[in-house]
Structure formats: C-alpha cells, structure tokens
C-alpha cells in the first residue's frame, strides 16, 4: 500500500540531497571540531560554513548562531537562559496560551521558582492581540516569548510588530520558529528578534540538531556547562554531520520556499473546500493565506474522536495527527484548540493534515475520500450523532 504522509508538522523525511551532503562526515571527515589536527580542522571548517549558511538565511551574523540538539533545547535555553541572569531586572515573562509545550512548560517551571508569567489569550484564529501584549508588559518584564507559527493550527503571529514593541521597551524577545524556519521569510534584524529557536527535522534536515539564534550582547545563561563549545553557550562535542545536514536543508528550503508555499496553499484550499462539504465540519485556525502556514490544514468533525480517525486513516495508509486528548500522554485535549475557543469535545474531533514537498493533488483527493468514509463510519457508532436514539 502506498502511504501518504500528511504529518510534516511532526517531522519530515531527510532530503536525499541533504543526506548526500552529510555522507562524508560519517566515517571520513569524522573529526572532533575541537581537535587541532587535520581531522579536527575539516570538522571545524564544515561547521563554520554551516554557520554562515544558517546566519545568512535569517539575516543574522554567523557568531550569533548557536547549534544545539533541537527545538526543545532552544526553547528551554532561551526561556531559562534569559530568566535567570536577568532576574535582577525583573521577574516577569510574557508568553501566549498557544506555545509549544517546550516553551509552556519551561515557563511553568519558572512560575514555581518565583517568576510571574502572563499567558496571553488568542482570538478564534489563534492570533494574539498587540495592544494586550503592550498592556501586559511592564518594568518588571524581562522576556516576551511568542511563537512565530503555531504547530497545530498554523497561525502566523505578527512577530515583526512584537519585536518592535519589545525593542522599544528593551525587553528580550524570543520566538519559537520551529515550524516557520524554511517556510516563512525570517529577517532577524528587520523583525527585531533577540532569540529564535529552530529544529532541523522540521525542514527536511536531520533529527537531533537545531539552532538558537542569540543576538550579540544578549545576556544568556547556557543550559549545559562543559568544554565551552559554541562560545560557551552550548557545550558538548559538536554534531558535525547533523550541523552540516541542517545547513544544507535550510539552504534548500530557502531556495524553494516561495514556490513551495504557493503550491501548498493551492492544495490546502482544495482540501479545505472539499472537507467542509462534509456535514458538521469546520476548519481550525486562520483562513488559508499569508497569515497561515502554507502546509497546515486543521479540520474539525462533530461527534467523532480524533485518535480513532487517525488510526482508521492509518489503516488506509494516510498519516496525520489530532489534538484529541486520547492521542496525548496527559489526557487533556490540545491546549491550543481550547485556547481558540473550541469545546473539549470539538477539540477531540480535530484532524491535522500537514503537507510536504511530495504531497500531490491526487493525494489530496484520496485523503478527502478516506476522511469522508471514516467520519461516516465513526459517526454511525457514535451515540452523539443524530441524537443516537
């Protein structure tokens, strides 16, 4: 059975071109980049080239790029790394109700450690309100952390505007750009960003490697101490092959960005239009367009539960995800879907379809057909559909 992968927000396959770039660094140029000898120098040069590629993709300086193990590490480093060394200035942090758990739980940890955190509400489409953000910041505020694009419903937050507000007030601004890097244009300088986290495996790069942009002069405490790698901001033997892969993946993503976004938006439009023909269905997140991640579609179906949908679709070779409680470890439905105002049972009936480079028109047709069939089947056995009896 041909499988259709529509879970690119969870992770992506490694691009074959990326793997090719990585190959020499497995068993030939395998040196430790801290070593003085030629093996070490080869590794060092590869890392510094990668750093330049990454920096130029987001209009940063190479020395502002800190390679690490991924988005979770970047988010934790940013949030805790700013909070602690700047707490003399204040103990207040502003974030949103729709952040990824990596930011959310790093913040919750801080709350237990004497910090105060404001979680901004979002509207029905997932957007924060700029005046509310302004009102939330005060003299005590040391960090604003607002994600660039939401991983569940694709909402793209107005980060340039947020950056401007923060810069004017001299508050550090971190953005979790794990979902947007390689998909949305990012200009660190124009957007007044101080810290930005990204994860390689979300843009066809390798898993286990990411980067944190840290603006020059930022007072940041590292999460890990040790050999002083990455200017002391991230100790540990550098994952050379991972870093090389991440940079190549980003280079490719940037080159294909606009074309791919346009293509995916067209697919998304078709998908949504047909899906909404199913009765008692709706779309979560902003309308398809510039303010939504081009590859993200999030649908809701009344009377059915998401995990069951996902696994029935899986039986038909279609891979996607849901914000239903039953798919998570903690049995609460997606905090993002609740934050945009869905009732819990509506959140349970959500289906996230995130497209990739390989997604074709005909895949969309097949998905629609399958979703239609499965929703029908599950409703048949649902006591909530048409009143049961």
């Amino acid at each position: 059975m041909k499988r259709i992968y529509l879970d690119h927000a969870a992770t992506t396959p490694l691009d074959e071109r990326v793997l090719r770039e990585m190959k020499p660094f497995f068993s030939e140029k395998y040196g430790n980049a801290s070593s003085l000898h030629s093996f070490g120098r080869e590794a060092r040069e590869a890392i510094e080239r990668a750093r330049e590629t990454v920096a130029s993709a987001i209009n940063a300086e190479p020395e502002e790029i800190v390679f690490n193990s991924g988005g979770t590490e970047g988010d934790n480093t940013a949030v805790h790394g700013i909070a602690y060394p700047n707490r003399k200035k204040g103990r207040h942090i502003v974030t949103t109700k729709i952040e990824h758990h990596a930011v959310e739980r790093a913040c919750e940890f801080l709350e237990k450690d004497g910090f105060e955190v404001t979680y901004l509400e979002v509207d029905r489409e997932g957007f924060i309100d700029l005046p509310k953000l302004e009102a939330a910041t005060g003299k005590e505020t040391i960090l604003v952390s607002v994600m660039h694009a939401n991983n569940e419903i694709g909402t793209i937050e107005p980060i340039a505007e947020i950056g401007k507000i923060c810069r004017e007030r001299e508050i550090y601004f971190h953005t979790d750009a794990v979902q947007s890097v390689g998909k949305e244009k990012i200009d660190i300088k124009a957007m007044n960003i101080d810290l930005l986290s990204a994860s390689g495996h979300k843009f066809y790069g390798p898993k286990g490697v990411g980067f944190l942009y840290v603006r020059k002069g930022t007072k940041l405490r590292p999460l890990m101490h040790g050999g002083g790698h990455e200017k002391g901001l991230r100790s540990g033997t550098e994952n050379v092959v991972g870093i090389v892969g991440l940079a190549k993946a980003l280079e490719i993503a940037e080159a294909e960005r606009e074309k791919e976004a346009a293509r995916k938006r067209k697919l998304a439009k078709g998908l949504v239009k047909q899906a909404l023909e199913i009765e008692n269905s709706w779309m979560n997140g902003p309308e398809i367009g510039k303010k939504r991640l081009s590859n993200n579609v999030n649908l809701g179906f009344d009377f059915v539960e998401g995990e069951s949908m996902v696994l029935m679709l899986d039986d038909k070779g279609i891979a996607c995800s849901t914000g239903s409680a039953c798919s998570t470890k903690d049995l609460r439905p997606s905090h993002v879907l609740l934050a945009i105002g869905l009732k819990p049972w509506q959140a349970h009936g959500s289906l996230r379809l995130t497209m990739g480079r390989d997604t074709k028109e005909k895949d969309i047709r097949q998905v629609i057909e399958s979703v239609n069939e499965i929703v029908g089947k599950l409703r048949e056995i649902s006591p909530m559909y048409k009143g049961g009896n």
Partner: protein, 128 residues
C-alpha cells in the same frame, strides 16, 4: 502502542448499534472528557430460569481503546447470566483486548461502567 487484538477489535467492532426495544440503556461518560458510551441491553431467561443478557449493543464516541474494549466486553457478556455480568471488574476488560498502555486503562473503564449502569437501570425498571 496497542496490541494486535485491540486493533482488530477496533477495526471490526462487534455489537455496534442500537437495540430498538432495549430493556435498558446505560449512558455513561461525558463529552468534556471526550468519551461517551451508550450500552443497550435485551434481557432474557435461560433454561434454568435465570436472567441472561440476550442481546447487547453499544454506541461509542471515543478513542481506539474505548471502541475496542466496549466491543470486547459485549462479546464476553452476550449470553451471560446477569448475576455473573455484574461481577465483571474494570481490571478484566483490559485483559479482553490483550492489555492496554497504562495511559489508556482509564478509557477501558467506561465499558464496564456502561454495562453496570444498564443492568442497574434494568433492575430499577423491573422493581417498579
């Protein structure tokens, strides 16, 4: 994550639907938690004159574990004496589906709750 047996029961659920002239219906769960189950019972008598579950059907709004366990439970109790069916515990059900991941055990509880509620309902009706 799920056992083959669970997945099989999920893919081919048994005794799904309604019983039009049910003797009792047990409605359990809540929409907020994301699982709702309605258990329909038809009660008859065996040769010894004991009450038995002649027919059982369920409707389930819930995850794979909920669907599979409700399906498994109906298979087990169909034809069973009522007195026996009452004794089925929450612990039994996960076993019927070949075990469940720890986080999912709570979803299996619903089926037992539904059955118990339906039996209770039936007894109440009879007493009247």
């Amino acid at each position: 994550m799920y056992s083959d047996k669970t997945m099989d029961l999920f893919r081919h659920p048994k005794n799904i639907g309604e019983i039009k002239d049910a003797d009792a219906i047990g409605k359990v769960g809540n929409k907020i938690c994301g699982d709702v189950m309605w258990v329909y019972l038809k009660i008859g008598k065996n040769k010894k004159g004991e009450e038995v579950i002649e027919d059982i059907k369920v409707k389930t709004f819930g995850c794979v574990a909920a669907i599979a366990t409700s399906s498994a439970l109906t298979e087990v109790v169909k034809g069973m004496r009522l007195s026996e069916a009452e004794k089925i515990t929450k612990q039994n059900v996960a076993g019927y589906v070949g075990g469940l991941p720890p986080a999912k055990v709570h979803c299996s509880v619903l089926a037992v709750d539904g059955l118990r509620k339906a039996i209770k309902e039936y007894k109440k009706k009879k007493r009247k």
